[in-house]
């Protein structure tokens, strides 16, 4: 569904992404993990057209999107949430979702769109906060609103950037349930995450990034026993009290 070919992105002298090859299959939940600064969010930014790639190409459902603009990519069917929540705090909860709402499954017209927004708010359990200012929501509610807004673009594929960050155990379990429901609805999910409970709980396949390069890819068990992954997370040096 999403094909990433030899993708590089440099910022001045920093190679945030280096000749990355990746494929996300339709209908799967694909997770990307890696230490902080390994380039995960940069990858999302390049895929969604926030920055152009320095090198390499991108395809979505057979169409090349390497130099496409963000809103065009979204209209092709990619939805995205942000790691640091970027809601429209001065808009109501309803409006946050509504501005993103497109005609869904051939149902057109303003009234159909508004009904769809309410459906999405119900799905993300925000129905009773409909007329609240998004800035007044608590953290968990804001995360769910981000998801509702991304869903309103009627995406075939969702890019979720650390959706579980800051969540407690109960919220993570809810999130796992939501993601499974989304997969049942036919959505493909491409996930960046640090919370391993979530990753191991839902991901079909996992890729590990370090310094902008893919160092491992496979199932959860494959990843956990891969020595390169262990080294990337824990470092190769022995930790010594006399030589910290």
């Amino acid at each position: 569904m999403l094909t990433i070919e030899k993708l590089s992105r440099n910022f001045g002298g920093i190679r945030a992404l280096h000749r990355l090859d990746l494929e996300v299959q339709p209908g799967e939940i694909f997770a990307m993990i890696g230490p902080n600064g390994s380039g995960k969010t940069t990858l999302f930014n390049v895929v969604t057209g926030v920055f152009p790639p320095t090198e390499g190409r991108l395809w979505f459902n057979g169409r090349e999107i390497t130099r496409a603009r963000t809103h065009e990519i979204v209209r092709l069917g990619i939805g995205r949430t942000f790691q640091n929540i970027r809601l429209f705090t001065r808009l109501t909860v309803f409006n946050n979702v509504w501005v993103a709402q497109r005609a869904a499954d051939g149902r057109r017209g303003p009234r159909a769109e508004r009904r769809r927004v309410d459906e999405l708010l119900a799905f993300t359990r925000l129905g009773d906060k409909r007329e609240e200012l998004a800035g007044n929501l608590n953290f968990g509610e804001q995360r769910r609103l981000e998801l509702a807004r991304a869903l309103a673009t009627e995406p075939a594929m969702l890019l979720l950037d650390e959706p579980a960050a800051g969540m407690n155990y109960g919220e993570v379990r809810e999130l796992i349930e939501d993601m499974r429901k989304l997969r049942q609805m036919g959505k493909t999910i491409f996930l960046i995450e640090h919370v391993m409970d979530l990753v191991m709980g839902v991901a079909d396949r996992i890729a590990v990034l370090n310094f902008g390069q893919k160092i491992a890819e496979g199932s959860a068990t494959d990843i956990q026993s891969d020595p390169r992954v262990i080294e990337a997370y824990l470092g190769g040096r022995k930790v010594d009290a006399r030589n910290p």
Binding site: V74, F82, R90, P110, T153
Partner: protein, 301 residues
């Protein structure tokens, strides 16, 4: 009585200026150049009735359209800059327009008088409405019909998805793009709309005053037009209306303040920014009012 008609007329035209700044401002672009579109509307509508002999309505439409097209053209380079830079750029645009009109000479002798834009001397004898025996009181009705139409249009815009998208763009352009919004189209459309509205204001003004010159459309008008929505509030189009009415009443109505007019303006701006940065009618107030109205309609809901 005549005096109140005059004040209300001025308020009406300034409301249009304020609304033109407002529609652009809610996409996050603060334009200090709307007076340039006002000038375009004024000069072209004036040329229409005074030099080409066409009627008021087509002339006003001509002025509006020219200003609107200019707004469209300005909207594109405006995309490249933000914040103060945009303010300076739009002010620069306004100044270029003003300076162009300062140098334009397009006159005809009609009925023994020299009519038409005449460089530094301005554009006199745009006397269409007075020639036909209309009074200022009757013209007041024309002005406010225009105001109501524009305000109504903006009202519906604000309640629409596009209006919400305007505000989304203001708050976070990247997130807006990620919500599928074509940020460029929204911002350029806002400028175009602002151009139309300001052009309408100018076209109406030149027929009211029969006169326009370059000095009337420079910095003081730029600052006033921005203050109206910033003071009145960015939460709703009512803010621009409130701002224009309030400031003009304050300075015209309180004659003893006339001398201190700008000091009062300046102090008001400072105080508003310190205590209520989004103006009097800000988004929070709009929400409270809407919630209140909803409770009135369905008290048991």
């Amino acid at each position: 009585m005549d005096y109140y008609v005059a004040v209300l007329s001025i308020i009406g035209m300034h409301i249009l200026l304020g609304l033109s700044v407002y529609v652009v401002a809610i996409t996050g672009q603060l334009s200090f150049g709307q007076q340039g579109f006002y000038a375009i509307g004024a000069y072209l509508a004036g040329i229409g009735t005074a030099l080409w002999g066409i009627h008021l309505l087509p002339a006003v439409l001509l002025g509006m359209t020219a200003a609107g097209v200019m707004g469209f053209l300005v909207g594109f380079p405006a995309l490249r800059v933000k914040g103060l830079y945009l303010g300076v750029a739009t002010f620069g645009f306004g100044e270029i327009v003003r300076l162009v009109f300062l140098n334009v000479r397009y006159t005809k002798t009609i009925g023994g008088k020299l009519v038409g834009p005449n460089g530094a001397e301005g554009f006199r004898h745009v006397s269409y409405i007075y020639d036909r025996g209309f009074t200022q009181a009757q013209y007041l009705a024309v002005i406010y019909t225009a105001v109501i139409i524009v305000a109504g249009f903006v009202y519906f815009l604000e309640r629409s998805k596009l209006g919400a998208r305007f505000r989304a763009v203001e708050e976070d352009e990247v997130a807006a793009a990620m919500a599928g919004i074509n940020v460029t189209a929204v911002k350029v459309f806002a400028f175009t709309l602002g151009g139309f509205v300001a052009g309408l204001g100018g076209a109406l003004f030149v027929h009211y005053s029969t006169y326009i010159d370059h000095q009337m459309v420079t910095l003081p008008l730029a600052v006033s037009s921005v203050i109206y929505p910033m003071l009145g509030g960015l939460g709703s189009f009512w803010g621009a209306i409130l701002g224009a009415a309030l400031l003009i009443f304050l300075t015209e109505g309180l004659r003893f303040l006339q001398e201190f007019r700008l000091v009062v303006y300046g102090a008001l701006i400072i105080l508003t920014m310190l205590f209520r940065p989004r103006g009097i009618i800000d988004e929070a107030m709009v929400l409270r009012v809407r919630a209140f109205l909803r409770r009135q309609v369905a008290p048991s809901a």
